[in-house]
Amino acid sequence: MIRGSPLPTYLALAALACASLTACATAEIVGRQDETSKSAIEDPPGKPGGKTLLIAMPDSRDFLDARRGLVAEVKKDFNVITFVVTPTTTIDDLAAAIERNTPVCLVLMNNTTLALFQKYQARPSARATPPAVVLMTSFLEEVASGVKGITGIAYEVPAVTGFINLRMVVTARIDRIGVVYRPAFGRFVARQRDLAAREGIETVPMAVPADASADQLRTALQALREQGKIDALWLLNDNGLIHDGAFIAATWRPILQEMNIPLLVGVPNLVDPAQPFGTLSVVPDHESLGLQAANLIFDLADNNWNVGDHPIELPLSVKTVVDVRQVRERFGLRSDALHHVDRALDQSP
């Protein structure tokens, strides 16, 4: 606790300490003052003449985790400059950061940042833009076609990864998995179906309209139940399929009760023994995503930064949350399952 007013002295000491630390550097932050004050990003010391990676990203937790994993890997080989993107960051801000730091490669995190970069590329005054590795951006494979010189890692966990993890938790058979999807997700579901087929898992898709009502969703789920002979359901990360608690109560819950099959979800909040819904949640492991991104950056560096030879990768590493009580009571818990999940939720009744 600070008594009296030692703060000025403290600040003077701090200033002296920091002034003597030529390596002490912070991220470039452009945005509202209240947001800048929360930032805890500190870039590693740069080396004179070193090649620079410019990381453009929001400063919320998941992005910071990915950055931590990435920076730990690349800091010996590159100077790292972090540029925090906020809702008020403009193309001019991004352009200034790129032109000031002349990075050999950019790392862009999230759709907003990628959209800024796309607009930056489109400016008549834009110089040759550096290649970019894109992370944590929804449906990257779809949006990448509109942006030049990028590669990256898809953000969506491949369904097959979830299916395999589900198999390793429950004793019940998992061979056919149903999924309801809106048209915008059609290509994504088709790709996931192909990947799952390699593992001998059949994905049974059921389309609903873009503005699917509760009735239409119930009808689709019932069709899966009656015709699909499915062993589990996979819920896409699509707000149009869940809306809110009342919508879930009117659609998913009663059908899941009737079918008595596990539900694979992509959001941990949907796994809650107190309000049973999702059986297993599989989400990206952001820190490990940073390692995967570092591998990609090293590959690019070895290949003269030619992104054209590096297709967008799928994420390799995930974290799992399981409703143990639901599994134990309804689907059978494998004897070693709890050694293989990151979070086991087991609230007693």
């Binding site: 701090a14 630390l21 809702p87 990947l195 590959d299 050694h339």
Partner: protein, 252 residues
């Protein structure tokens, strides 16, 4: 709807805005401070093994099994490296190459069926990876950082001309095969059963030509606590040793 605040720029550098320097200093001080587990009076044991069990579950188990020790299990090499740099543990359990990288020799060597080494397997889909491996992409768990893991894999495969795709955790190797992101993966032979349990891919394997690797072993960093630590490990039950991939400890 709330109006956005007027846009304000806050480009921070070391030299500007002295009011930030206090916060910066604090941050620096926090970063410089040990990021080690909570300090207890117990000798601190670090564990870094490429097992299929999650580190949280293994840590809980080991804490129960080794009540006289403070146990921290690391699933990622970087986490181990960062923690070791902040505060040196009293001891480390890891495979022999990791101990050698730290200039240490085992005080206790794990054995399985009387052997203290195991072969590594080069695992692929469809066909065994016969013929020259030159130019192939091989997945491996990051056991010793970028250079160390590259060297580790190169020795085991007897070629430097390979591209190593490092993953953070053992379970991340299977997706490399599922997504055709690697020609093969390198795993300890003891990990094959679990891999084939997880997948229905037509898995093929062959022994890595570069020899075997030491099983998990204990290295002591603080000789003052050697007796306490070795005694605790020697008392470990069979089920826990099995999870570590061994069935006995042998004093060295």
């Amino acid at each position: 709807m709330k109006e956005p605040l007027p846009r304000q720029r806050a480009r921070m550098t070391v030299a500007v805005r002295s009011r930030w320097l206090g916060a910066l200093f604090l941050l620096f001080a926090l970063r410089a401070a040990p990021v080690a587990p909570a300090q207890t009076n117990k000798p601190e044991l670090h564990v870094f093994l490429q097992l299929d069990a999650k580190s949280g579950a293994l840590e809980k188990l080991l804490q129960q099994q080794l009540p006289t020790l403070g146990v921290t299990v690391f699933s990622r090499y970087r986490d181990l490296d960062d923690a070791s740099a902040a505060v040196k543990p009293d001891a480390l359990v890891a495979i022999s190459p990791v101990l050698q990288q730290r200039g240490k020799r085992p005080a206790l060597q794990g054995t399985r069926a009387g052997k203290d080494i195991e072969p590594y397997l080069l695992v692929s889909v469809g066909n065994v990876l016969d013929g020259p491996l030159s130019g192939k992409t091989i997945g491996a768990v990051d056991v010793m950082g970028r250079d160390g893991t590259q060297a580790f894999v190169a020795v085991l495969l007897k070629t430097n001309d390979i591209k190593v795709k490092r993953v953070a955790k053992t379970e991340d190797l299977l997706p490399l095969l599922e997504f055709s992101a690697a020609d093969g993966i390198l795993i300890p032979s003891s990990a094959l059963a679990r891999l084939t349990e997880r997948t229905r891919l037509p898995i093929k394997s062959k022994e890595a030509p570069g020899g075997s690797v030491g099983l998990p072993a204990l290295a002591i960093f603080n000789e003052a606590n050697k007796e306490t630590i070795t005694k605790a490990l020697l008392a470990m039950d069979a089920a826990t040793k099995k999870i570590l991939g061994i069935d006995a400890w042998s004093a060295r």
